[in-house]
Symmetry: C2
Subunit: 135 residues, 2 copies
């Protein structure tokens, strides 16, 4: 049973100063929320000390939106999980100017789906299906 | 640059009453945190009204741990994102008795890694690598 869609976004070769800028990252999350018509129940933000990055987590009626930045690596990662259908947000076009990202990768995963092991996959999938009612 | 590991967990055919039990789910998240020695900065919990499910989100110094339940589908999904190396938690062995889950699937994804499009993959990967410094 598919219960939602999760997008995993990786932005690399970003400007480290932007990855430490909590106000900028809050604005970015607000923009995703506004553009997609998401509803925020509550959110948490944390700026790690010294030259550390920022973590933001928004709890949505639609599930969640999170952001973690790693200025030391020039990398930011985002998760957007929606249990209701939403259009695609153009992460690449938006993140490149906002974070000065050189590369942006988006992976879309259906949530709730029990996955069968696929030895040919590049990803390690530890899942398996055991017989229903076995235990 | 790999900046962390994320585990996506799907538990299906669970007892719907357990998926509405916020105290039980808080206990489950507390157990993951304790077993793996994670550090919680702050957390958010929300119980959706009527026969709805529960959302829990823990912000960790190691990244995040989230839980969304869908009693109407007998499904729970979890995300555990760690930017520091952690042992595997045995989601299948633990979730089956706690949630009466019949099937548990765990997918492990390296975060921060820019993925090349793989048309043969069962998953839709919208990512691509554009030339560094192109824009």
């Amino acid at each position: 049973m598919i219960v939602g869609t999760e997008w995993l976004i990786e932005a690399a070769e970003c400007d480290p100063a932007k990855l430490r800028d909590e106000a900028l990252l809050r604005g970015l999350i607000d923009r995703v929320v506004a553009d997609l018509g998401l509803k925020v129940i509550d959110s948490l933000w944390h700026r790690f000390p010294n030259a550390g990055g920022v973590t933001g987590m928004a709890m949505l009626t639609e599930s969640h939106l999170t952001c973690h930045t790693y200025p030391e690596h020039g990398t930011a990662t985002f998760n957007l999980y929606c249990c209701r259908t939403r259009p695609e947000w153009d992460w690449e076009t938006n993140l490149k100017p906002i974070l000065d990202a050189q590369t942006v990768s988006v992976t879309r995963i259906e949530r709730g789906e029990i996955k069968i092991e696929d030895p040919g996959s590049k990803r390690s999938n530890l899942g398996f299906r055991s017989a229903g009612g076995r235990e």
